[in-house]
Chain length 114, copies 2
Amino acid sequence: MASNETSQMLKGVLQGCLLILLDQSPSYGYAITQRLDDFGFTDVPKGTIYPLLMTMEKKGLLKSEFRESADGPKRKYYSPTTAGQTAKHKFLTEWQQLETNVTSIVNLEEHDHE
Amino acid sequence: MASNETSQMLKGVLQGCLLILLDQSPSYGYAITQRLDDFGFTDVPKGTIYPLLMTMEKKGLLKSEFRESADGPKRKYYSPTTAGQTAKHKFLTEWQQLETNVTSIVNLEEHDHE
DNA sequence: CACCTCTAGTTTGTTTTACCAACTAGAAGA
DNA sequence: TCTTCTAGTTGGTAAAACAAACTAGAGGTG
């Protein structure tokens, strides 16, 4: 739970990131948490990831399937539906827009320190 | 209210942006809404901006002062406190972190379309 | 066998924050 | 007088991240 400072800024972004990752390869909650870690999202708690996955499935963005595991309980693999892929593309353009806007404001700040 | 799609992703980001803008030059709610528009945040509703400014003042991040206006009601000018400037710097590093992380995931996606 | 650890998922409730809707009000022009 | 633009406040709602408590399987150690 190291990165709870950026917790508010995560909102909406996490869902988009999951859609991209799961579209690359279907995966399950426990593994996704570890994979997010590789991308700098250190210790996204399971209290965040599991409910999000379930909500996204309810919304019709993801579909899921249980698969047996050799060393532990069953794993619930998620992958994007067609609607999920549409949402993914929507996220990509929205993120780019947000990034552009915020960067232009942040640049104001940086030019002060020259 | 055109950009309510990105509404969730705005969370936490807006406060940081206001701190930067108000540190450049103190301003009041109505004008800030228009200024945000220049940076691509089109039509951030006043139901967002006014309560946010008040909350930030309650938190001690902003201070305010009423000034007369020649053509309308009084204007409440806001500017960052010392705590507000600290929060601004914190936002800058947190935003950079988030941007880096999301970009690395978004890049996965873009490499697929080569 | 009892206990612990790692893996894996669910559920309930809380907090933060953007936003809507309704309201008050001043100044200027038709 | 009425409308429009400017300017701010208040109350309530919805979405999303997160903590905490719970259930469980598999494997190892004392």
